[in-house]
Structure formats: structure tokens, C-alpha cells
Assembly symmetry: D3
Homo-oligomer: 335 residues x 6
């Protein structure tokens, strides 16, 4: 099958492996490139679709987050498809990798348009799939959500956000940079502030005017301290309950800077006093189980900053697989 | 206003920023160099005074802790003045940066004298300010306290110390090195052992004779294990209560090596099995709220050892801002 | 005393220090090279014997774990013999360092034989000592246990394993590599699967067929999640109770990759979502207290990958000293 | 004096030092910020004007070259104004630092416009000064030259380029990226191909079609091998002679990737087989002496990639000072 | 076409790119995987065949040279096929990448056998191709040459070696390690000592007994100093002349440690005082032009040690392409 | 033999190796610790005596040069005693390692006194040996020379210095720091300015007033450019001739910062445009051959800054061995 989404999406340069005897046990043997699929019907019903979004020119500080999609795929080799904690084998699901959104070197507006188009094309084509965008910086979230909105204009969208920051900066300062995705969505009317739920704010990493803007727009948020008091799982469930009573679709965005900087040496914007790995994994698993969570992204991870054994890249991949575990547990429960 | 403390203190080489429209939202827009202040009365009533103490030649092992004052100031750009957890804006307080104590390249005794003089001058001039010394290695603590004592000889002083070590080594070995500040203060009669409270000892990082000396001098200490059992906040409150019944002024010293080495990759003396970031921030906030805590320092952080995204430098700054949050919460509570 | 185990073991190139006044306070002043001991009787009754096993050619991925024995000894300088948490001084015990197993550059089978021989010789000679092997990769565990079995064929052996992995890979693939030690022991009949207890499995790091093999061979395991629910100490005690009712001797193997990768930046195979330092130390202390735990090893730590302040090397040494603390607490309790 | 070029140029955040006794001996004591100058006439006659151009979003690969202007200024502290080889003291010249071109985070077109405007303003104001642009990536060269052309439309411009590459890529692919500056100038009619002289091409770093384009446009070039055979100084003199017979003004552009990668560990695009440091310094000194060389730039140096002692940053600064030495030797010769 | 050499050789995991419009300009668009070739006749007549040999377990010190074949292929993207110095386009030749020799994890003897078999199969099949082995450590040279000998037993073989070392260590010490390939070939009777020519010895990096062995076996060598005096090109031509009068086939082996350590930060065994990049490139180009040089290898480059911009990996690839340039110049000259 | 110089000198912590069969081939098997020598007469006639001087607190910038003596000894393992270029085996000479000068942690004056005393003791005891001091920073040179002067007050001393700097800074600024050794010796009357010969000055690394001071004191110097024009060997011979006509003894000091920073990534004060490795080795070999050169040092090498394969540490050791080669060639020539 040719890549019918072409030219909106470039095939990835990663080389998938077909295991010799047909037994899949590692992630790189399981996830398949769209361009290789010959069974179009099976493709359309893939449980999960991955889209690489290698853009980080839009970051306020110099960032190599554009390199994460490639590092993400390369790390698959180190993960089994089988999850021992939950005793489920992800390989029972079909996961397609459609490749990367093509980027322009000097025209960031064009990059953003490409992301919107790619997102719209994927959401239009894969009606029942979970769409996972691998960033890139946080500016891509606004574009992914806009694309989803374009594809399904009748559906209202809500957002569950793990983040140390509001990401509600004024776009008139620096344009649609990585500090602005939530404001972008509010101002463009795609998502209402009251349909946004942020978990993980803490410390000195948001200016007061951003909080005031958030309050004005009725953005919901749980500081990390309050989420810990209530329990991470309970907090996430609370947000999902609220959201699912108000919107048709929920988009999950994981800004890796929500993690404490000790757990995320490859995330330049991470800070002291953030989430632990265990907390974030718990939160993402809970979100993955919810049927209305139809799309997600992982952003702001810069593999070029990581230490020698690549703890942050591995963690990014682990978060993705944990989301999928949630999806599968839900499926199994529904049968 | 000229720097009336000159020549005891060099102005910092950091460049402060005055925001264009007068709205302060980032730390580097807020903290002001003394040399720029024209309103002398306002200066004298600053809530907080920062003094850089770039000395690490006195460290037993080669150390770049002398570079922390500069790295500390440079990191301000990444912090808002607004604390979301407590909903307070530190920018309502006045914080002065008086610069760095001048150091001699080859005469460490002279360096130590300079610190004492600078500390005495500041404590004499800023009678109502919290004085924050940014080290440098732990030898500076003895000098800062001696200076405070010189300025206010009638007041008794107690110490609250977060540390993996006693820092009670014998000065006859290596002189007043970074292993000795507490002993230095005991032997010089400036602080009684019974007015010292250490939180954070653990593992194999203190020889038995130091513990025996501590017991002899009635130094008080809580191992990290016992502090965890009691609760960090409760332990700190207990120490502050005891101290405030016995002394006029409390000096808080934060040796960054109290942290588990996973949280402090830029602290050569940190160890496995130490405090988490969350625990230390809780302890410092509690101390900041106490009215008798009039001075503090942060020591033994070597920015040259930090990993790419500078987790330890950011944590050092976070600890400082957390202390100030305590100060402000107390002020607000008193009104 | 000449090294009577020669040529099976090379003396280490580390230089031990005899403190001037006979007062031992640091680890490098305390642990003694066998080749220096003149009192043979005292040597034979040493509480603990250390053996370096610098082999990592047998690792599936390129590894520098062969450098850990040297890094381990070099780090002693940073540790006191006195444990403040437990108020015991390890220096009351005699600990011998017999040196390193000699390795062949190109014949890994020969390396493995050398380890078996060295282990057998040590277990035959030091009948009452705890034998601690410092790896090296995990393939050495099978060899150390085989050597113990050779020396005392009448005794049944059980294994307590801290690990993120089963290490039950099929040897027909890659020979006795670091992924195979447990299977090697089962297949060679040295240890029964039902006498193996693994603590720490989690996430996506074991393929499904390994779990099936484990179940078939009745290998016992606690996922990290279940161990946390029960309590680490309780889980370890449970395993030790079960084992001590079934076997004569327990071998403890600590694969450093059981740790969360944030705590172990020098362990290439460590993963996100693993144990914290505090949890592992608690587990090892508990194991050290059990009288049937006669031997242990620490494996898969690659010092060449560590960050600047060597957090992982220090942690490896801390684990060893924590095991010894358990041994000593037991001794004191028995008196 | 206020910055009369504002708002086209931001003052630098670097802190200049006024030496206490008026004796200037280090570079950071000598170069002066424009915003501090009170003597406007003296300013206009400054021999040299520095402009920071912190743009690297326009690079094809992720680049931190935007950080070079700041690293450049910070490195001044390590350089004397006195050149011992030539026995001249640069401090006899006036050098102004006008600050950095303001950049937009997400609109690269706007960045490029800002550079053109800033260049035009500077060339219009400082009629007799050498203008030195500190990049940033190579895309800035086209903008700096266009600005010069705007300010002095009647003057023809020629280019002397040290580079491993032609930098003649097709702009329709990626817009005005770092691979295109020379083509940009040709296609916009600002500089004719026959008035471009490239020194340093070698190896496998230019595709054949670029050479064909170069030949078509009559771009002149000397491979490194041919330049070495002729002598670097002789080659440069030859190019300058040719140029000065054809154009009014010569612009020198130094792409740091002309250097062999062993000399430039902080230049991602540098290659094996390039120039030595000594050769490049010889070439730049020769160019500095030529009266028609009125402007220059240094580009594509990424300080974030440099090794610990910052060899590449220091080399960038050395190249700048060597150019100034040429300027001064010419001045002295003319007197 | 299936890989008819299977299972002796694994296809590489590198993803080749077919340029859209058929115009090849970069190396990764040009070199083709054997497994993709449908025109068997064209394959058999490929001018060059590449074989990856990812073995470094046989190194005396821990080494990551096994990672070079992958790093080598990944670096192709940064190289054009066009050589500007010589004005030739390598893309006019056919170059096949047959993939990597499969390695066993714990049985180094088996690895060595696999290399011999793979070499023999390639030399038997590609009768007119230059065979380029990409190591791996230097032990592979003995195996590659033995395989060539197996395939063509009637031909005598000579060796041209660029190396800082003799590589004549006694195999009885450590087996066929990376210090032994030349002795291995002498002792196995495959190559006579008098048919070996070593260029690049210098300093303190060979023990006296090795020199004595070399003299005994009539191995020829030029120290770097003598080669410089004579001229690198002249020295290489001299060796090739001598060899071609004595043997049927010449094997070129480039041990990257021949380079001065300043040029080879990713070669652990490189030393101060070695060759410059320019000298080695000159030597390899000269060798590539000689018709009797039928096979070559590049060994002992450890990409895990390289600095941030990967100077050594790029240099390894440059050496390979320079050899091919020699081959092509010869071809063109012969037409 | 006890260390009769005790307590002025601490035995090194390095472990020397006695080869099993008495055949010495590596440097660490050859150099012997004084404390092990039983033959006192042989010791006194050792051709060479090594003294470690681990002091870098006296550096103007934070430095780890104190770690070089240990890194130097550790690197011996990588060097043969046999020099292939000159066909001499250094193992025919006796070289003693007397250990390290003891340092005080906080009293630099005391450190300097210890160096003087140690130097005096060694020069008094080893009347015919070449004394090699391994620094440490450049401040130690003044102390080593003063000690030599104390031991032999009747002899006049001259200095041959390889350095990018004059090292003639005013001691009233920062005391006897690493910028002052030559001035220290002039002002203390130990060496006359006219008996100092500096080779290697270049670029912007000396302020004009230092040159004026040098001229005033008649210090002799050759810039690197002039030395290259004349030839390095010729320049060194010229300086040695001049010196030997005027003084009794010549002291050679090698400041590693004379090297181009590309060759010395572990020397923080090295600069672009300095010497190549080959040039420095040529210079040192020539100096080693001169009979009046009785002492030397190697300073300002910071192993903590070096890159992964330790090029600078290896180069430091190579320089030392090259000096010894000169000594031996002279001896052989005199026989």
C-alpha cells in the first residue's frame, strides 16, 4: 500500500523488523509502518496510530525536541510488548506508524499548517483509532487539536494536561511558541477554557498574570500538591469524569516537563519539585483506560540533553506504552 | 547610591533587568543590586539581603562551588516571582543583592576574614533583613555566623542544619575547611553545641569519633530515618521550638549534600540514601516561616559538575525562593 | 601470607591504607588484602570475603561493567565504617579482599571456568565467611553459584534476586550471556526453579515466553508493584522464610538494573519505573540479617556510563556496606 | 547616550568592566556598549562596530549557534588587547558593541528582516567603521549584506568566503536557510556570482549540482588543496586583488565549518580534512589588512557542543581579534 | 533478490533512501543493500562491497568498536558522492552493502569463524569487487584475510598496515585478541612476515620484544618519523611497489589508532604524536589507486567515546570514501 | 628503606607492579617507589627522580590540576619503556618516584613552603639525578626552583620555559598564584630575568605591561611564530647555548598551555594558535639531551577537563618520557 496520506506525511526512516517465525515479542517487531500495510481494511481499524511531529524551532529556548520521534522509535528495541504488571500483551492490538509530518526549515507557520493538515487527515481516515503524536515541542498540541477539530467539527473537545506550566502565554509576544498552545486553542475557539484540566502545576514556574488569565477563562487545574493529597489516580478520574460529562472527545497532552528534573535529565524545562515517574505513569494509565480519550501527545523531550544511558528517552517510550496498556485493559474489560 | 559597604563587597557581574512597563514577573526583574538603589531608607528595610560568597579553595576535595553565586543569579531568568502553591507573589517584598565578598587567590585566611567583615557589615546595616549567603563551600558558614555575632554580640545564636554530615571535623588537621564549620563555631565560643540542630544524617558518612564529639558537645541531631518517621515538617518545627526557647537568633544552613545523589548530580559530596527534593523544600519552607530565623546559607553546590539541563543549580535557586516564600507567608500571617 | 588461592585470583591493584595510629574509621583503612594477612587463622574466620569478578565481555550489549571492581575499591575512601542509623561500626568485623578472578581476553568459557574455580576455592577455604562477588555482568552469578555448589555439594541452594528481569533467556541463542544466569542454574540442576525468588519485575522488560518459562519451572516472583503493596521488608522476609524452610544456603544477587533509571545513571539496563534507592537498601539490609544468606553479588553496574559525581558507583558500594550492616546486626543480636 | 538604533537592536546582557585606574588591558575592559557612550562624535568614528545576530532557527539541523554572541562576549575576559606577535595594542582603537538584533521566536522571516534593518541602520550611521556580525548561522550573511546594500545602494559588493561548502542551495526547498546565503545574494541581484571568492572547499561536502550552479554563475573558488599549494596568504591576496579591481566594498564571511573538525569540536558542520587554526588565522589577518574589507561575520559556531575548556568559542573570539589586528596594522601602515 | 549469503551475513538495520527523481547526490542515496538488488549480474560486478564486522568483545580493554558499522552507515547522510578535490562522482560506481557478520554473544571463537566464512563467501562471489570490512576491533583483520585466503588459496597475500602498533602480540597470552592479528596471520602461514608493511609506528607504544619478533619475522616497517621524512605518498608507493613484486593481492588495514589522539578522540588506543588526518587521507588515497589492493578494513573506532559532533565517526567514513576515490581515479585512468 | 625524606613527602597511592619474570616492558613495571628501595646507594644514583606536586588551589581560576600526579601515574600502564623512534629502552635507567609533597587544605603558604622543603631535600640528596616535578599549577615552579637554590646556593640557575604566557604577574594582586612564578623568582633574586628564556608566546594572551616588565628585566623570549621560522629544535638549542654560557644549572618548565587548545582539551588555559604536539615533543627532547638541564616540571594539566579517551593526560606522560629519552640519548652518546 502506498502512503495514501502522502505528501502530508513522510515515512519514518526507522527500520521495522518482521520476526522470522512470526512471533512478536519486542516493540520494534510489532509496530508497523503504514506504507507496508497491504490490508487496507485492517489498517483503518488499527487501534492506535502514531504520528511523528519533529518540530522544535518554535521553542523559546534552543531545543532538540525535534529529534525525539527518531529517538523514540530507536528505543523500541529495548521494550517487550508484554506488560508483566497487568499481564497483557500489547501485540494483540494493531499499531500503525504513519511517519513524520514534513517540516519547513525557515517557515514555522508552514510547519504548523502541515501539522494541522496531517492531524485532520489522520482523524478523518482512522475513525476508531487512538492518535498519538510524538513531539516536538508543546506548540504542536494546538495544531494537533485543531486538525482533529477540522476532521470532526461537530464534536466538542476537552483537554487533560500534565504540565508544570499553564502554557497560556500571550501569542502576541512570540507567536505560537511552545508556551502558548492552550491559549491558542482558547483564542481560536477550538477548546473552551472550562474544558481544560491541568494537573501538575507547582512552584515558581508560572507568572501571576497567567494564573489570572487561567481563572478568567475558567481553566481547571490541580497543583501537584493538591493532586498528591487527593491521589493521582483519583485526581485524573475526577478530571475525566468532569470532562466526559461536558465534551465528546478528550485529548491528553503530556508535557514531559511535569516531571521532577531528577527524573527527566533530558527535558530542559523540567524543574525541581515535579512529579515522580511512578506518579506520571499512574496518571497516564488511568487516562488510557478512558474511552473518550481519543488522542494524546508527548512533548518537550530533548534527547540531545539526555545522559549516557538515555533515561528520558526510555521514559518517554514507557509513557506511550503505558497509555496503550490503559487502552488495552479497557478493551479487554469491555469484551 | 554608592556601595557604602565597599570595599568589603564587590558588585556582582550579573545584569539585572528593569522590565519595560514596570510589571515584575520574573526573579531577575525583581531582585535589585544595592549599587542601583537610590532610596536609602527603603534599602535599609529590605526584607532580604543576598550576599555571594564565592569561596571553594577551602574545600578538602577540588571544588567548583565558587562558581555557584554566578550560576545562581544566572538561573533567576527561569523562575517567576509568583508561587502558585501558596498563591503569594514574592515581588511584594524588597530583595537586595549586595554582590560578592572579594576573595584572595592564595590567602584563604584573608578570604575568611573578608567574609566575617562582610557579614558583620551587613548585619549591622540591615537590622531587619533576612541575610542569605550563597556559597561557596561549607567553611563559609562559620564565618557568616561569626560576622553576625560581631555585629550583634549581645544576641545568642542557634543553628538549624540540613546536612548528611556533622561538619565537626578537627580543625587542627586541615584548618577551617569545609568539614569543620560547626566545630569552629563551638570552639570559638560563638555557638554552643547544644544550640545546634542537625537534620539529615544517615548511612556511612560520619566517622564514629565525630558522633562522639557531637554527643560530648550536646549537639542535637535527627537522622533522616528518624525525621521521616516523625515527619519532616514536625521535626523542623520541633527543632525551631527548642531553639527559640533558648536563643535570640536562628541561623539556617543548607548543605546541598543532604540530598540523595540522584537529586543532586552537581553536589560532589551528596550520597545515596539522602533526602528527596520534596523533603528538603518542605523543611526549608517551614524554617522560612519562623520569625527567629534571621539568616541562612546554601552551600557545597558545584555547577561545573551538573548535568546538561542544570538540575542542581535550579534546585539551589528553588530552595532560596522557597525560604523567601516562608518569610512572606509569615509576614502575611502577622498582618 | 602468600595468596594461597593463587593463581586462581589476582591481587587487586588497589592500595589499602593502614591508618597511622591504628584507629580505623574509613572503609579503605579497614578492608584488608588477603595477601597481607599474616594471621592465617584470623583470615579463615573473616566474617566477609570480597572477590572481584571483572567480566563483561559476556554482556549482550557493549558494557564496561568489568571496570566496577576497581571503581568499587576506589570509592571506599568516601565511606566511614560507622553506620549512624544503626549505631554499629563495621570495623569490628574482619573483611578480606582476595582480589580479582583472572580473565582471558578472548575465551569467555575460560573466564567462566575461572570464576567457578575461584568461587569453589573460596567457599572451601572460608567456611564461615559471607562471600561477596563484585561484578561484572550477570552471567557471573551462575558461575559463583556453581562454584559454591562444587565446594559444598551436599547443600541445597536457593536464590533471592533483585532484578527488573527474569534472566531466564535460552542459552542456545547466545551462550551463557548476562541474560541467562537463572536458566543456566536451572538447566544445570544446581538450583531448582522453585527455589528462586525474584523481586522487582515490572513494566515492559520481559517477554511473555520468559514468564511462561518461569511459571513452568515454578520460579517465584513478586512484581515491584506487589512488593510495594506488601512492603519491601515484608516481601523480602516472606521470601527468606519460604527459602529457609526449603534450602540450606541462600545466595543473594543484586542486579543493579532493578533500580529506577533516575537512581542508576550508570546502569545501562536500568529502566523507568524501577525501585528507589531507599527500597533497595531496605531489601538488602533485611537479606543481610538472615543467617542462611551466605553469599551475594552486585552486578551490571558500568562506571564508564556514570555522571560526573559517580552516583551509581557510590550506590553500589553503599549496597555492599548495607548488606554488611545486616550481617553485623544479626551477629550482635545473636550474642 | 540612548541607543539611537533602538528598537532595531537590543543592548547585550554582557556586563562591561571599566578598569579602576583607566588602564585597559583585557578585551572586556576595552570594548564598549553603544548605550554607554556619551560622546556621539567619537562613537560615529569608532573603528569597529560589533553586532550580535543570535539566530539559528534557520539552520537545517538543530543548532545552538544562537548562543554564540553571548559566549563570544563572555570569553573576552580571557584575552588581552595587546597582540604580542605584531606588537600592537588593539585598545588604541575604539570598538563599540551595539548589542543584538532582536529575534522573534516563531517568525523567521521577521528575524531576517530585523537583521537587514539593523545592518542598514549601522552601515548608514557608522560610515567609516568596520562592521562585524557575530552569528548565528550562515543565513545571516545574506541579510547583513542586503542591509549594507540598502544603506549604500551605489556601491558594488564582493564577497570573500572561508567555507567548506558553497552555500548555494536552492531556496525553494527550505527557504533562506543556512545552506543558501550565497545563492540568495545572487538571485536577489545584490552580489554577482563572479564577485564571490570561496576558499576552503574540499572532500565530499558539496553535491555536484552545486558545483555546476557555481560554475554557471561564475563563482570563484579555491579548494583547500589548491590554496595550500599556492599558500594561504597568497591565495587570499590574489582574491582580494581580483575583487578590489571589480567592486567598491568587500564583505568577509568566516563559516567556522571551514576548519578541520579536530580544531572545531563545537562546529557541527565542520568536517575531517579542513583548515588548521593557523591557516585560518593567517587568512583572516590578511583580509583584515585590506582597506576595502568593510564588514565581516563569523558564523555556525555552536557553543553548546563545545568540549569542557571551550576551544571553539575561544577560537571564534581569536578570529575576531585577528581580523582587528589586520585593521590596525593597516591603519598604522597608512599613517 | 534474497540475500544469497544468508545466514552468514545479517542485513543491516540502516534504511537506504531511493531519491525521488533518480538523481543521486548523497552517499545514503547511493550505496545499496544487497538484499534489494534485483539485477544479479550487476551485483556481481559491483566495484565495491561493504561488510560490517561488529565485534569488539575480543578487545583487551572494554571497547564499543562494535557500534561503528551502524554509526558509519548513519553518517552517510552527511557526505556527498561528489569529490570536489578530484572532480569525480563516486556514484558512477556500484557499491553494495551486504550487511553485518552475525556475532555470538559469548563465544568469540564462533564470531571469528563467522567472519572467516563471511569473508570467504564474499571473496568467492564478488570476484572483481574491492571488499571493505568495517570493524570492529583489529582481531577481525586476521579473520578477513583468512577468509580471502580460503576463497582464493592460490593467491599470495601481502598487507599494508597503518598502525601505531605492530599488533604482533603473543596469542598464547590472551588468544586472538585485537593485539594479535599480524602474528596470527604469520603463525597460521597465511601471510609471511616479509610481506607485511607497517607505516606509522612511533613513541612508546610497542614493547621491545615485539620489535624483536618483527625483525625475526622480517616484517617491514616505517616509523612515522621516517615516513614523514620520505613523504607519506612516497612511503606508501614504496611499500606497494615492493609488495606488488612479491604477492598477488594486497590487503590494506587502517587501524584508526595510527592517528594522533587530537584527531581521533573516539579511538581509545590512539596516542599523542601520531598521524594527522591529512597524512592518513593521503596514504589511503594512494593505496586506493593501486590495482592489487583488493580488500581493506577500518578498525578500532569506538563511537561511544567520540565527542559531541562525532569527529571520529565522520573521519572513519571519510577514509572509506577516500579509498573509493582512489579506486575510481584508477578506473578512470585505465579507460 | 624507609622514606628518609619523610614527612616532607607522602608516598604515592599508586601501586607499582613488579613483573613476574623480571622482564620490564611497561612503564608501571619500571619506575619504582623510593619507599621500596633497599639499595640506598643505587637509589642515590638514580638517573631520574619524580616528585608529585598536587597543588592547584593557587590557580586564579578553579582548577583540577592537583589531580594530575595521580592521573600521570595511572597512565603509565599504557606506555612501553622502549622508544621505537630512537631505539632506546628507558628501562636501562633507574627512575625513582619519591611520592607527593603533602598539601594543606586551607593554608597555601604552607603548601608552598612544603614544596620548597621537598625540593631542597631531594636536590640535596640526589646530587646526580634529574628531578622531575609533576604539577599542579604553575605556582609550583617558583617553589621547586627556590628549593633547588636552597640545596645548592652556589650554583646560578637559568630557566627554559615553554609557555603561552610570561607568568610575570604582579604578586601584590593575588599572591604567588599560577600567573606569577617567573616574577616571583626574579623578585626573590633566585633567577635573573636575563637568565630566563621563554618559547611559545603568541596572540592575545599577555597584557602589554607584562611585556614591558619582561623587557625591563631582560627576560628573553621567542614568540611561537619566530620559533617556527627558525625551527623549534634550533630555537631550543640557541636558548640552551646562551644559558649554558651564563649559568650552572638549567631548569626546564613545561606549561601545558603552550599547546594549541585542539591538542590539549584538558588544559583550561590553553589557547587557539599554540604549539602542536609534534613541536613540543621536539623541543622537550632537545632540552632533555642537554647536560645542564637538571630539573624540569610539567604543569597546568587538569585531568578532570579531559575528553573520554584522555588525550591530554597521555600527552603529559609522553612529554615526560620524551624528556627522559633525551637524557638517555645523551648518556649513551657520552659513553
Amino acid at each position: 500500500m502506498k502512503n495514501f496520506l502522502y505528501p502530508k506525511i513522510n515515512p519514518s526512516s526507522f527500520m521495522w523488523v518482521r520476526p522470522e517465525h512470526g512471533v512478536v515479542s519486542k516493540v520494534h517487531e510489532w509496530i508497523q509502518p503504514l506504507s507496508d500495510m497491504s490490508d487496507l481494511e485492517r489498517a483503518k481499524n488499527a487501534e492506535v496510530v502514531i504520528l511523528g511531529v519533529p518540530l522544535s524551532r518554535s521553542s523559546i529556548s534552543a531545543s532538540g525536541a525535534s529529534e525525539f520521534p527518531e529517538a523514540f522509535r530507536r528505543s523500541w528495541r529495548g521494550f517487550a510488548t508484554y506488560n508483566l504488571d497487568e499481564d497483557v500483551d500489547l501485540a494483540e492490538m494493531t499499531v500503525l506508524d504513519v511517519g513524520d509530518v514534513p517540516m519547513h526549515v525557515t517557515d514555522i507557520g508552514k510547519c504548523h499548517e502541515n501539522i494541522i493538515e496531517a492531524s485532520a487527515a489522520i482523524h478523518a481516515h482512522f475513525l476508531n483509532s487512538k492518535v498519538c503524536a510524538i513531539g516536538g515541542d508543546h506548540s504542536i498540541t494546538a495544531m494537533m487539536v485543531k486538525g482533529m477539530h477540522q476532521a470532526k467539527p461537530a464534536e466538542t473537545i476537552g483537554i487533560l494536561q500534565f504540565d508544570t506550566h499553564f502554557d497560556l502565554r500571550d501569542m502576541s509576544e512570540n507567536g505560537p511558541s511552545n508556551g502558548t498552545p492552550m491559549r491558542n486553542l482558547i483564542e481560536s475557539g477550538v477548546v473552551e477554557g472550562s474544558n481544560m484540566y491541568n494537573i501538575g502545576l507547582h512552584g515558581f514556574f508560572n507568572t501571576k498574570d497567567l494564573k489570572q488569565y487561567a481563572d478568567e477563562k475558567r481553566v481547571n487545574y490541580f497543583t501537584l500538591r493538591s493532586a498528591r493529597k487527593k491521589g493521582i489516580e483519583e485526581t485524573v478520574l475526577h478530571c475525566l469524569d468532569k470532562l466526559s460529562s461536558k465534551v465528546d472527545t478528550i485529548y491528553l497532552t503530556v508535557d514531559m516537563d511535569v516531571l521532577d528534573i531528577a527524573y527527566a535529565p533530558g527535558v530542559p524545562a523540567s524543574t525541581p519539585g515535579g512529579m515522580t515517574t511512578a506518579e506520571l505513569l499512574e496518571g497516564v494509565l488511568t487516562a488510557g483506560k478512558h474511552p473518550k480519550v481519543k488522542a494524546m501527545d508527548i512533548v518537550c523531550l530533548d534527547p540531545l540533553k539526555d545522559t549516557a544511558v538515555q533515561p528520558t528517552v526510555k521514559l518517554g517510550t514507557h509513557i506511550f506504552l503505558t497509555f496503550l496498556t490503559g487502552v488495552m485493559l479497557r478493551q479487554n474489560a469491555s469484551i
